[in-house]
C-alpha cells in the first residue's frame, strides 16, 4: 500500500474503501522493517494499535467516521503522558515510569478515534540534542540515516517521513517541531502559545513551550489541530477562545495575499546554504506567481531573538528540573547536564532583561506584520548535517531561525521546499499572526500544491 495522507485516508475510510485495520497493518509493517534503523519509536504499542484499529473499524462500519482522524495511525512524543504506557522522556531518570493518566492532547486524539502506534523518540526531556548516553539511541533521518533529524521531536518527524505513522505529536520550545519537520521533509506547526494544552506534557521552558501537529502535509496538520485546539483549565496558559475551522481557507486563492520576507534573517544575520537560499527564493517566486504581493520585512537582528529566547529557556529549564539537577545531575545525559549547568550562570536580573527584550521584540514583529498576512524565512540553515557534526554547545554555535516565534508566541510552520544536492530536504518557515493558523495553513497548502515536493518519499520507504 502506498502511504496516504491523513486527508486521503480519511476520505477512503469514510467511503469504506480503506479499513483502519488494513491501514494500521501497513504502518506496522513499515515499523517492523524500518524502526531498527531509524529508532523513531522508543515504545511501540503494537497491541494497542491493533485494538484501536479494530475498534475504529467497527465504529466506522456501524455509525460512519467520527471525523477525519478516525482510524488514523499516529504517535506521541515520549514526553506526553500516556496512562499505562511508559513515558520516559528518553531519560534514565524516568526509566520504568508509567503514568496513570493521559495528557490532554492524548485524550483528545483518542476521542477522535486515532490509532496509537506508540511513543516516539525525543531528545532527553525535549532538550540537548542527539545523545548516545541516555535511555535509548537518537532517531535517524530516513532520507539518510547518517544524518541528523534535528530535534527534539525527532522520532515524530522520522516516523511521519517514513510512513510508520500518518501524523504525530511534537512539542516546540525553540523549534522542536519545525526543526525536525524541516530536516525530515514533512510539515509541522508550532501553534500560537496557549492554543493547545500542555497538561500532562513534560515541561521544558514554560513561557515558550507549545504542543503541535506534525504530518506529511499542511492540510493534515490542519485536521490534527482541529482536534487539539481548545481551552483546557489544566494548563494555566491555555487560551480561552473559540476554535475556528482550520481547513476553511485550504484551496482558496492567494491572489492579493500579503507576504513579507524576513530576508536579513537568512541572508545576513545567519546566512543559509546556497541550495536553501535558492529554495526560499523559488518559494517566493511561486507565491508571486500565485498572485501574492511580496515585500521585504526588517526586524531586529536574529541574534537578539536568539539571545532573549535562549536566556529565558536556560533559566526556565533550570527551574523546572532544579531538584534533579541538585540531587541527580549525573542521571541526565551529558548534553542536558550542560544545559542545566547554564542556569547557574544566568542571574535573575539577566532573566528579567531577557523578558523585557522579549516584549520589545514581540512589539516589533506585531508592527512589522501590520498589513501582512504571513512572513517567511528559513526554518533551518540547509540540508540535515551529519549526526556527528552537531556542536557540543550548539546554543552558542549559530542563532536559531525558529526561536524568534517562540519568543513572540506567534504560530509558525515548516514545510518542505525542495531537496538539496545530497538528496536531503530543504524547507521554508511560514509565520502567521496570533491565532491565525488557518491563514498559515492556507499559504502552506497552496505552496505544497503548487510544487511537486510532496510526491517524493525517502528511498528506504520503497
Amino acid at each position: 500500500m502506498s502511504i496516504p495522507t491523513v486527508a486521503e485516508a480519511a476520505a477512503l475510510i469514510a467511503a469504506k474503501k480503506l479499513s483502519p485495520v488494513e491501514l494500521t497493518q501497513a504502518c506496522l509493517d513499515r515499523m517492523h522493517r524500518m524502526n531498527g534503523a531509524l529508532h523513531a519509536f522508543i515504545h511501540p504499542t503494537e497491541e494497542r494499535a491493533l485494538a484501536d484499529a479494530r475498534k475504529a473499524e467497527a465504529d466506522v462500519m456501524k455509525d460512519g467516521p467520527r471525523g477525519p482522524l478516525h482510524g488514523i495511525p499516529m504517535g506521541l512524543k515520549d514526553i506526553v503522558d500516556t496512562a499505562g504506557i511508559p513515558t520516559t522522556c528518553q531519560s534514565r531518570l524516568l526509566e520504568g515510569n508509567i503514568p496513570t493518566a493521559d495528557a490532554t492532547c492524548a485524550v483528545k486524539l483518542a476521542a477522535a478515534g486515532t490509532v496509537l502506534m506508540g511513543k516516539l523518540t525525543t531528545h532527553e526531556f525535549a532538550d540537548g540534542g542527539p545523545s548516545f548516553d541516555v535511555l535509548a539511541p537518537p532517531a535517524r533521518n530516513p532520507w539518510n540515516t547518517e544524518h541528523f533529524t534535528s530535534g527534539s521531536s525527532s522520532g515524530t518527524a522520522a516516523a511521519v517521513a517514513s510512513g510508520m505513522i500518518l501524523c504525530g505529536i511534537g512539542t516546540d520550545t525553540g523549534g522542536s517541531i519545525r526543526g525536525p519537520a524541516a530536516l525530515c521533509g514533512i510539515a509541522g506547526i508550532k501553534p500560537t502559545y496557549g492554543l493547545v494544552s500542555r497538561a500532562g506534557v513534560a515541561p521544558a521552558a514554560f513561557s515558550l513551550d507549545t504542543v503541535g501537529p506534525m504530518a506529511w502535509t499542511a492540510e493534515d496538520c490542519a485536521l490534527m489541530l482541529q482536534v487539539l485546539a481548545g481551552h483546557d483549565p489544566k494548563d494555566p496558559a491555555s487560551a480561552d477562545r473559540p476554535v475556528p475551522d482550520y481547513s476553511a481557507l485550504l484551496g482558496t486563492s492567494l491572489r492579493g495575499a500579503r507576504i513579507g520576507v524576513i530576508r536579513h534573517f537568512h541572508e545576513a544575520d545567519s546566512p543559509v546554504s546556497a541550495p536553501e537560499l535558492a529554495a526560499i527564493d523559488d518559494a517566493v517566486a511561486a507565491f508571486r506567481d500565485m498572485g501574492a504581493i511580496v515585500s521585504d520585512v526588517t526586524l531586529p537582528p536574529l541574534q537578539d531573538w536568539h539571545a532573549a529566547g535562549s536566556l529565558i529557556s536556560m533559566v526556565e529549564r533550570a527551574a523546572a528540573y532544579e531538584e534533579w539537577a541538585r540531587t541527580r545531575l549525573d542521571g541526565f545525559g551529558d548534553r542536558v547536564q550542560r544545559r542545566l549547568m547554564l542556569g547557574a550562570l544566568v542571574s535573575g536580573v539577566d532573566y528579567v532583561q531577557a523578558v523585557r527584550r522579549r516584549r520589545e521584540l514581540r512589539d516589533e514583529l506585531r508592527d512589522a506584520m501590520r498589513g501582512l498576512d504571513v512572513v517567511l524565512t528559513a526554518a533551518a540553515p540547509g540540508e540535515a548535517p551529519k549526526m556527528d557534526a552537531i556542536p557540543r554547545w550548539d546554543v552558542f554555535d549559530r542563532p536559531s531561525f525558529t526561536i524568534p516565534f517562540n519568543v513572540a508566541g506567534y504560530p509558525a510552520m515548516s514545510v518542505c521546499a525542495g531537496f538539496g544536492p545530497q538528496g536531503l530536504p530543504l524547507s521554508l518557515q511560514i509565520v502567521g499572526k496570533p491565532f491565525q493558523e488557518a491563514t498559515v495553513f492556507q499559504v502552506a497548502d497552496a505552496f505544497e500544491k503548487a510544487t511537486s515536493f510532496r510526491s517524493r518519499r525517502p528511498a528506504m520507504v520503497g
Binding site: Q303, L340, L345, D350, W393
Partner: protein, 64 residues
C-alpha cells in the same frame, strides 16, 4: 569582552545553584563564558525605569 570567570566565582555560582560538578565540567562551562556574555549584552537595552514587564493576574469571578 567579559572579565574571566575565576574558579572562585564559578564555585560560588554553582554552590548557589546547588550543583556539584566535576573539574572537567567546570572547565567546559568556562569555555562558553564569552557566548553567554554576548547573549546578555543583547538583551540589555537603554530603558527608562517604567520599562517593567507587564504582568497580568487575570483575576476572575472565582478569585473574589
Amino acid at each position: 569582552m567579559p572579565q574571566a570567570l575565576t574558579d572562585e566565582a564559578l564555585n560560588f555560582l554553582l554552590d548557589n545553584a546547588g550543583l556539584t560538578l566535576t573539574e572537567a565540567q567546570k572547565a567546559d562551562l568556562k569555555t562558553i563564558q564569552d557566548g553567554l556574555a554576548a547573549m546578555k549584552a543583547r538583551v540589555r537595552q537603554k530603558r527608562g525605569h517604567m520599562a517593567e514587564m507587564a504582568h497580568g493576574f487575570g483575576f476572575t469571578a472565582e478569585d473574589m
